[in-house]
Symmetry: C2
Subunit: 141 residues, 2 copies
DNA sequence: CTTGACCTTCCCATGATGGGAACGCCTATC
DNA sequence: GATAGGCGTTCCCATCATGGGAAGGTCAAG
């Protein structure tokens, strides 16, 4: 199977397959006499594994560990679960950060008339005072 | 004011201040005879504006527009609000994506014993079939 | 044999940020 | 005035995963 076919079959672009090989995430594929990479069903399955893990937000670095566990028949599922939990925790943290941004922005946008007048609480906040963003009570000086 | 002082006063690192200047986000700062950049309170305020906008997740590209509106006394607040709303929408989209990832992962992690046995539904899912991830009902074959 | 689709490698760009090297400047202390 | 160390300057490199594109080789169908 050529790299293009492997790409279609796995959902990983040919470009990325080469990249994964170059960075050592996957072993170097076999080659035909003329230098074309050749892929077996096993390798396509590995690529699909990677694809799915990426879709769940795992960074490539973590996928190294996941692949190792995948191949290890004497793995402990606890190790897999731990990796998953770390990923969950990371996602949760980022979600919370973005949610906080969104809440602040929504708050500001709600206060903005959004008409043809220049007054705008959004800009006032951005350009404004020390750091008294949003709703937090600040100690009077 | 030196770049270091401006950095402290604005919350933007000296490195980033130079970067913003190089990319044209901010105008080139004045220089002393010996080549040191010099910053006024106005410029520090602009840096703080940028800092805050970044904290709300605005990409630098959007901040260009925000700064332009900030400076434009005949702006329409509707334009500002629109930018904010776009940012809100973008954040919401990313949050939803990450939430979906997290839900899937949580679902899988919940199904994983997390002990010293190798069986692991997380790995089964990643390595598994066509694409029957998560809870969706799939048509029996 | 030609053509077009595919493969190869290599370089560049993204976006925002940090690290570090090599070198110049400024100020306080002796 | 000399010196130290704390700043400043520029330039290059790295991140992280991905895509774009160029230049050139290969393969299969007509």
């Amino acid at each position: 199977m050529n790299i293009g076919e492997a790409a279609k079959a796995s959902g990983v672009s040919a470009k990325m397959i080469r990249y994964y090989e170059a960075t050592g995430l996957i072993p170097a594929a076999g080659r035909t006499g003329s230098g074309y990479r050749v892929y077996s069903a096993t390798e396509v399955q590995m690529l699909r594994f990677i694809r799915r893990a990426r879709d769940l937000g795992f960074p490539v670095e973590k996928i190294v560990a996941l692949l190792a566990l995948w191949r290890d028949r004497s793995r402990h599922s606890a190790d897999v679960k731990r990796l998953a939990q770390e990923q969950i925790d990371g996602l949760e943290k980022k979600i919370k950060e973005m949610q906080a941004m969104m809440d602040t922005l929504q708050h500001l946008a709600d206060a903005c008339c959004g008409n043809d007048r220049p007054e705008c609480p959004i800009l006032v906040d951005l350009g404004g005072g020390p750091s008294n963003r949003s709703h937090e009570p600040r100690n009077a000086t």
